[in-house]
Structure formats: C-alpha cells, structure tokens
Symmetry: C2
Subunit: 247 residues, 2 copies
DNA sequence: CGAGCGATTGAAAAGACTCAACCACCGTGG
DNA sequence: CCACGGTGGTTGAGTCTTTTCAATCGCTCG
C-alpha cells in the first residue's frame, strides 16, 4: 500500500494496516482459490505481475471491505472465508444481495461503472483476502481478453440472477424465499453447515428476524432441516426445492 | 435475415417477417437514438458495417422480442417506443424488471453470459427496432474497445441498480415502491405522461393490481398525481421523493 | 459470575392479497 | 347506427401473512 489513505470512506485501506499478518508471499500461481475464479485462465506472466502488485491480509470477522457511497480503489480477491455483500435500506436495515466464498473477486462492478459503490461488503468470518489496486486491475483487463470476457460473462450472469432475485422478492412468500435462500446457502457453505446469525439470514431472505426464526422452527418440525445451536443442516433438499418452487 | 428460424422459441425472428414494413434503409449514422446509446461513440467505419448487417422493423404493441429460456441470436436496438423486460414468477405473474426507451440496446446480457435469456421482453407500444445478429455484435465488441468498455460500464451500472431494486422490494412498503416506480417512469416517459396498463404498473411495482389502483387513488387525493383516463401526470415530484425515501 | 448480544416466544396490529362484483370504454358485426 | 362482447379499470369486504413490540431465555466472553 503505497499511499496514505485520505478518504475515510475507504475503510479497508486503513484497516489493512491494522491486520495481524500479511501473506503477500503466497503466489497466485498455486492459489487453490484461483483455479475456479475469474483469474482461472490468466497467463503465467500476468500472474507473476499480480504477485508483485497484490497486497494480501487476514481479516477478522465482521470487518468491512468497502462501504456504499465510497469510491473504489481496487478489487478484493477472496482467498478464504465468506463475505456478505449488502445494501442498507432507509431504516438502516441491511439487505444481503450476495454471499461470496473463496475464489470470488469482489468489488469490480463499481470500479467498472465509474460510480461509487452501491453496495457494502464485510466479512462474515475470518477471511484471507488479497487486494489488487485499481490501476493494476484495469491494466489486466486491457491486456487479457480472457479475463475481460470472463468478467463480461460474470456481470451478465449476475444480472440475470438478480432479475430472478427481484421476482422472488416481489412474488414469493417468506416461506418460499427462505427455502430458496437455504438452497443457495447450501451451495455456498457445503460441505459445511450454514452458519449465519439469524439476523443475517433474515436480511438475506428479506424478512424480520422473528419471522425467520418461526419459519426455521416450522422447517425443523417438518423434518426439512436440523438446527445445531445456530448452524443449519439441510436434511431434505427435495422438499426445499418443492417449497421454493425451483422444481 | 439470412437463416430460416428453426427454434420456435425465437419468436422475434419469425415475427419479423410478418411485420408491416422494413426501415433498413435508415442509416445508423443519423439515428437520433444512437447518440445517447452504447453505440454513441462507435466509429463511422463500424457504423457503415452495422448499416449493412442490421435488420430493422416496426413492431406492433405487445409483440415479444424474446422469451425467457430461449437462446439469444442477437441484440435489439430500440429506435423508438417502449419495451418491457420482465420475468415470470411461478404463478405466471410478470415481474417487470426494466422498461427500455429509445436508444437502449436490449438483450445483450444473455448473449454475453452464454446462457439462455433469464428475462423476456415485449413491446409496450408501437416500436421501431433494429436487430443485430450475434456474430456481428460480438465482432463489434472484439473490435471496438469503446463499445466494449461502454458495455462493461453499463452492465456494472445496472448491477448496482438492481441491488437497490432488490432492497426496495424487500424493505419498502407498496406505497413507497409505487412512489419510487413513478419517479423512474417519469424519467423514462417524459416529456410524455406515464402510459401503462394498471396491470403492467402493478407488475413493475410488485403488487396486486387492486392494491395499486387504491394507492394511485390515494396519491391523486393527496394532489401528488393527476390521472387522465389511464395516463398518469406527476404533479408533486418532491412529495414522491419524500415518500419513496429517495431524499 | 455478570453483562450483553443473539435467539426465541407471544400477542396484537397492520399491510397487502384474494375474491367477487361492477363499471366504463372501445371496436366489431349485424 | 346500435347492441354486444371483451378488456381494462374500480370498489368493497373479508382473510391471511407478516410485522411490530415486548418480554424472556441462554449462551459466551471477559
């Protein structure tokens, strides 16, 4: 990190300095998270370049990466852990739009749009995250048509997913949305169990915490899930599919 | 159109042939809709190419351009008129995601993602629309970095907008969402009045038609809007802002 | 061991939806 | 030219889902 932070909106950059330990020495080339990511088919040469420029750190639980309204200075490459991406409604209530897992690159949308972030992101658990500066990232996009196409593809795909998300929000009951959310979360968390606070889960489903808890209880009584203190184990995927209307 | 349609999913291509009159002779170079569009800063040379390849037609009201689940064969360039982009929920109810006006290019998301359409599109009124085949469009993207960057920017911008849309759906009351919708529609329709069926408007707001009608009545009684048979005139923008929570 | 956050439960209120009926406009065909 | 049928718009009443508020519980960390 070569510059002193000026804009206090840009939390991550300041926080980076407070983190326990850097793992900058880890090479992208052997990064297991990379293979499935957008950087999956980037050339060796570019990876070396990336290794030199990136800045990697461990993040504690509940640390913000960036905040809605601030200007992006780079992208975050999630090497391990889970990150929630959310916006805040008028009463300050979070709406979780997406939960990212290892391999995902976070925050390039705002950078490409030239606007401020429209969403915030923060860690849900301890995470290992590499930071790539704006310049470097934009350079890579100019250089690598593979990366560029991958990004366009990703953006388009997400746009489609969000159309479905919107429709679900508008038309499905909370029960149906919860089933849908559990299916998505199952994919994100497996082989582990879903591990979120009730509030985060409620903010993902788009409901009140109390409603969520009542519905979880219903699902438990119907034998669809098991609850271990806070973690949720999916028992009956088919039934969830049926409830969610995913067929 | 050089190929006979094979897949009946691809409605527009078949329908193209049934349309009244082609306006292929119109040059992109002097197209007033183009200037503000993604094609705004494309080079002359490429425009000439486009002129040769594109296929332009008039569409009647309520004609589909493409349908959810089918594979894209090109993009639609909206020269005049309005087009709704929507998905269908499980009960077949439409959720309108976006309403496009002249100058917009429709349907490139699915093409870039390599997936089937996740949304459907159909005209809301008589429209003048040019069709550009997949190959041609992808070529243009490869060639023109201006266009490419414009597209990445557009995709990113929309992704941000959809995050806000999701949050609105999840957290705002129908009254607030209606106010928000009217503000958006005002921008799209001005200087004309908003002209949508009550059902389409309800499907945009994400509510039942009856509820929508009752709220419109409220707004009218509060002096926020005027209703002329079906068209809606905005009287008090500030109040709408306040209700929508847009500040 | 106590503070405090996260989880849970209950009861009442509110918002929105559904269903059913009715109205109004418009184009068509006799 | 008018009656007819149909679509889109409107209204009312009852129901149900979901939220809100308030209170309690329970685990975890210092």
């Amino acid at each position: 990190m070569h510059k002193t932070p000026i804009n206090c909106n840009f939390i991550s950059e300041t926080i980076d300095c407070m983190l326990e330990k850097s793992h900058k020495h880890d090479s992208c080339e052997f990064c297991s998270a990379r293979k499935e990511s957008l950087f999956g088919s980037v050339h060796h040469h570019d990876l070396d370049e990336l290794d030199d420029r990136k800045n990697c750190n461990f993040y504690k639980k509940n640390q913000p990466l960036f905040i809605e309204g601030s200007f992006p200075r780079g992208v975050f490459c999630l090497n391990g852990g889970k990150v929630k991406v959310f916006t805040r409604g008028n009463e300050g209530k979070e709406q979780i739009i997406h939960i990212a897992k290892e391999g995902e690159i976070i925050g390039f949308r705002a950078m490409l749009s030239g606007e401020t972030y429209k969403v915030s992101a923060s860690t849900l658990e301890e995470c290992k995250i590499c930071f790539i500066g704006k310049e470097d990232f934009l350079n890579m996009i100019e250089t690598s048509s593979v990366l560029r196409n991958g990004i366009m593809k990703e953006l388009s795909k997400e746009l489609g997913e969000r159309a479905v998300f919107i429709t679900n929000m508008a038309q499905k009951s909370v029960r149906e949305r919860l089933a849908f959310a559990l299916l998505i979360l199952n994919d994100i968390y497996k082989p582990e169990e879903i591990n979120l606070t009730r509030e985060d889960l409620a903010n993902f489903v788009g409901t009140a915490t109390e409603t969520l808890i009542r519905l979880l209880k219903d699902f438990k009584e119907e034998g669809i899930i098991e609850i271990h203190t806070r973690k949720i184990e999916i028992i009956d995927l088919n039934e969830l599919d049926k409830i969610a209307g995913t067929r």
